[in-house]
């Protein structure tokens, strides 16, 4: 058991190192600010997709209100930075606390309802957030908040896009490590138990209330951190950024990569963001293509990319096991 954990941990370590190397090299290859901007958006979207992954992929609670958390994070960060003039580190802390609070509020309905009902509830929440921000005086109404100071840490300001990119990606790598460790921990198993059957999970002594709320808190914190990074990175936010169409993208990221796999969420976020940013000029065709892709995934690729690869590997190892004279597989393949 120890060895198995070590090996699967090793695989994640290798992937994280690979990810960090790609991230480190990218701004050196290209000096084009546009590509680096896409890189920054990929980082922010990875955080949002990981939040969706935690609550929907791992704990099985359908959250269609991730863009609400994103908006809350962005506005909290922007208001604190502009009104109080705090640095990024304390701002991020406050953002995390505020997001976690809203995560608990949105998590409470999940204790009583599930499935499509929960989806309705979370959409209602996120849409209310957007409408309130759109009409509240303290949030600048439809004009949003302008002149948000750029990203900085302990007085070290990120002056250009490449530096912002490194900063965002550093946080992304930390968040990926956190979620991978959480998945391997006891809590990961509790999430999976609740996803399969919350009643059975409660029978074997899992505190369903605590775990469901925790899933929503993780999701909201990831969304909030992404929002804070976006607000500081872009320097200007308005309610039109946080629309329901974003949620369709987040959903697509999670189901494209593979539900229940954090690297699937990362892969989905990268693919969707690259396509989204590159085809901005043809937005209608792009949305139609995304919609068709979603229906095709429902019909033919329910496991997503990573899930399908893992499934075929698993099937192959089972076939090997049953072959006469075949050796036992030494590593277990995660599904």
């Amino acid at each position: 058991m120890k060895i198995k954990n070590f090996i699967s941990g090793n695989k994640d370590t290798i992937l994280i190192l690979l990810f960090a190397i790609i991230v480190g090299v990218l701004p050196l290859i290209t000096q084009n600010d546009y590509y680096i901007h896409i890189g920054c958006m990929i980082g922010i979207n990875i955080l949002l997709a990981l939040g969706m992954h935690a609550v929907t992929g791992l704990a099985g609670q359908i959250n269609m209100g991730q863009y609400g958390f994103y908006a809350i994070g962005a506005y909290t960060c922007a208001l604190i930075s502009t009104k109080l003039g705090l640095g990024f580190a304390p701002t991020l802390l406050v953002t995390i606390v505020v997001s976690a609070f809203f995560g608990i509020i949105v998590g409470i309905p999940s204790l009583r309802i599930e499935g499509p009902y929960l989806a309705l509830c979370t959409i209602g929440f996120a849409e209310s957030v957007r409408l309130i921000l759109n009409s509240a005086d303290w949030a600048g109404k439809a004009n949003g908040i302008m002149r948000i100071p750029s990203l900085e840490i302990f007085g070290l300001e990120m002056q250009n896009k490449a530096q912002s990119f490194y900063f965002i990606m550093a946080i992304v790598v930390i968040c990926i490590i956190i979620i991978n460790n959480l998945m391997r921990s006891n809590y990961g198993n509790r999430f999976k138990a609740i996803k399969d059957d919350s009643l059975a999970a409660s029978v074997i002594g899992i505190n369903v209330t605590k775990v469901k709320l925790l899933a929503f808190i993780i999701s909201s914190i990831y969304g909030g951190v992404a929002g804070a990074l976006y607000a500081r990175y872009a320097g200007y936010i308005n309610p039109l950024i946080f629309i329901q169409a974003l949620q369709t993208n987040f959903m697509l990221m999670v189901v494209l990569g593979g539900l229940g796999s954090s690297w699937g969420a990362v892969l989905g976020a990268v693919l969707v963001t690259v396509v989204y940013e590159y085809t901005r000029a043809y937005v209608q065709y792009q949305k139609i293509a995304f919609g068709i892709l979603m229906i095709l995934i429902v019909l033919f690729l329910q496991r997503g990319i990573i899930g399908t690869v893992a499934y075929h590997k698993q099937q192959k190892s089972i076939a090997d096991q049953h072959k006469p004279g075949g050796k036992n597989p030494t590593t277990e393949v995660e599904s």
Binding site: P116, L120, S128, N134, Y285, I295
Partner: protein
């Protein structure tokens, strides 16, 4: 003051109610919450606009638009939704399959409308006669027309469910598909009929809404969520409850909007929906919905 707010609230609520009715019909017959119903609503409004701008009178163009929308909706249901519902496997998260498919369908249709009709709002420019004088205030006749049409449609649906064979089959398949099929009901046909009927209700709601707001590819975005609120209040799957829920939402948000400020009227109806989902998920009129929830 309160009287005219209630009249306007009732007629806006009747529009929500018609859309909520179609959401409920689909929930009862297909066991899904259809997130693309708002686009069916928009489709109806666009078809009506096409026919009306080709100099066809209002009532024939409404009927033509309703028929066209229903046919397209049934095609969508047969070609895309039927295979998804027949599938044995699905996502590892319960209920996610149809949410993803519904949202996919919704963005496909919405952007097809955008491509076909552009982003500019369309106006029917239909004339329904003089303002109606109600003592100390006057109101547009369209609000009364909406109420009359909604009452008429409710009556039709009531007769359909109570007096005809197909209405009985609809009730049967909403109870249990396997047993109905054993009793000799053609489940596929009845499901398609329900879907088409729901599309027709949405189309009527869309065309009448288009007389109050403008026709635009995203006109349904807020409307659909309010229809869901209405359906939840009445109890999803309960057609009468949905209409009552729609009227309630309409009145509450109109009166509440005038008290708290109109920019918060959408938030009021979403808050009501969330509270209902939290404390009374079966709706005001608990009607066999417990098994479905």
């Amino acid at each position: 003051m309160i009287f005219d707010l209630i009249i306007i609230g009732l007629s806006v609520g009747a529009l929500y109610g018609l859309l909520a009715l179609s959401v409920s019909l689909i929930y009862a017959s297909l066991d899904i919450i259809h997130f693309a119903q708002g686009e069916i609503f928009t489709m109806g409004a666009f078809f009506g606009w096409i026919f009306y701008s080709h100099n066809i009178p209002f009532i024939p163009s409404l009927l033509l638009a309703v028929i066209c929308t229903s046919i397209i909706a049934v095609i969508i249901q047969r070609v895309i939704y039927k295979p998804i519902l027949k599938m044995s496997s699905g996502f590892s998260v319960r209920g996610l399959t149809f949410i993803v498919a519904g949202f996919g369908m919704s963005i496909i249709l919405q952007n097809v409308f955008w491509l076909l009709f552009g982003a500019v709002s369309k106006n029917y420019g239909a004339d329904f006669g003089e303002m109606i004088d109600l003592g100390n205030m006057s109101m547009q006749p369209i609000y009364l027309i909406v109420l009359v049409v909604a009452t008429f449609l409710m009556l039709l649906i009531h007769l359909l469910l109570k007096k005809t064979k197909i209405g009985l089959s609809m009730k049967a398949i909403s109870y249990n598909k396997q047993i109905s099929s054993l009793m000799g009901i053609d489940v596929d046909q009845v499901t398609s009929f329900s879907f088409g009927l729901a599309a027709a209700m949405s189309a009527v709601s869309g065309i009448l809404s288009a007389q109050i707001i403008f026709v635009r590819f995203n006109m349904a975005s807020v409307m659909l969520l309010k229809a869901f609120s209405a359906a939840v209040i009445g109890g999803l799957g309960n057609v009468y409850g949905s209409m009552v829920g729609g009227l309630l939402i309409g009145v509450i948000e109109t009166v509440g909007g005038s008290v708290l400020g109109t920019e918060y009227k959408d938030v009021i109806s979403f808050a009501i929906m969330i509270l209902f989902l939290l404390f009374k998920p079966s709706g005001l009129f608990a009607f066999r919905t417990k098994q479905k929830a």
